[in-house]
Subunit: 202 residues, 2 copies
DNA sequence: CCTCCATGTTTACAGGAGAAACTTATGGGA
DNA sequence: TCCCATAAGTTTCTCCTGTAAACATGGAGG
């Protein structure tokens, strides 16, 4: 049959193909209401095939979220690696990179922090999220050591920072920072409020 | 027929009954994966009846979220109304009340801020959320006037505070504040970090 | 060369969403 | 007073989804 090349019985890397399709759909409509059958259909495969690679739709979503955390981590690290003068500047760059990522991939970002990406039942996802979180911890530690940040319980600072950045990202995604007539650059302004509490010099 | 009293053809206030059932289910399993049919079933009504009151499941969810915002607002106001010495203390009380509400109604709280409660397509929901947000704005304004808070663009402070409190609430809900071995009282500690940036006196 | 077994496919079924058509009370004119 | 328009429920129907089970295929190892 001439279709052998077009569609060999064994796909080769269906798992990856399904992920790519789902990622594309997620990016296209910025939500994850697509059905597993639709993903299979677009990947050109029978509707039951995905079950050989993912226990259920949730497992696929968690894998997407895991990839998202890896990408976010890379994005943040890239933003920090440019030669920046101070820890404060580095923090600002990292936070803004995170928020930019959220804005550019709002569907994926929301999925990453949604209850559909339950980290308590997926160690791999949990680890990926933790690794990204650790970037923040290391930045805070360095900042405390070089005298930029106040020497307070590191976890309180981490919780405050993480909460702040994530909260801003979510507000930014849902347009709440524009609609309410916040100033021209609400994100750095809000981050400055936090950094004023974080940094030694007022 | 003897059933007239048990189940009159017209329910009386089915809309309210559906909301109550859904609210109960939301509280019971802290998620909103229930089906509309299940809600109808438990309310003792045919599966199509809810459509007379809600366009679809989303409409019901948004109404639940709206109620949640009203309740949250009342909770916060109650927490602030106790005689507190300073604006800083009042802010702390309001923030902690918000986080306590989130912990005590994690399903509802997550729904309120999820994409399933889309504020851009539901003016009533949007207004309810805005009203609750306004409590924070007023508190910040008062704090700036009485000299407690720095006189910075009010919206930057509001965005920072809102993001912070909401972020902490989400972290608290998903147990991320305990698992990562944060100190004994991570929430006030993190809020102190923010308040240090907010307040005039360091 | 032949035979497993991972990877696909087909078939089957229990629900769910929602539309349409039908039924029942109820209250506001004629 | 009667009567019917209408709001509020119900029944029925169609399409779709998730998921399980049984079957097919072909590539890699003995």
């Amino acid at each position: 049959m001439s279709e052998t090349k077009d569609r060999p019985y064994h796909h080769g890397d269906l798992r990856r193909a399904l992920i790519d399709t789902a990622l594309a759909m997620l990016a296209a409509d910025q939500n994850w209401t697509f059905t597993l059958r639709e993903v299979a259909r677009r990947t050109g495969v029978s509707h039951a095939a995905p079950y050989k690679h993912f226990r259920d739709k949730g497992a696929l979503l968690r894998e997407l979220a895991r990839i998202g955390f890896v990408q976010l981590g890379e994005t943040i690290i890239a933003a920090m690696s440019s030669n920046l003068p101070s820890s404060r500047a580095q923090f600002m760059a990292a936070a803004q990179a995170c928020i930019a990522f959220a804005l550019g991939n709002s569907g994926l970002y929301r999925l990453m922090f949604s209850s559909d990406a339950d980290k308590t039942i997926d160690p791999q996802l949990h680890d990926a999220a933790m690794n990204t979180f650790r970037i923040l911890l290391q930045l805070l530690e360095k900042g405390q050591q070089d005298g930029s940040f106040r020497k307070v319980a590191i976890n309180a600072q981490a919780a405050a920072s993480w909460a702040q950045v994530h909260g801003l990202a979510m507000l930014a995604i849902s347009n709440q920072l524009l609609e309410e007539k916040v100033g021209p650059a609400p994100v750095p302004a809000a981050l400055d409020v936090l950094l004023d509490g974080l940094c030694c010099q007022k």
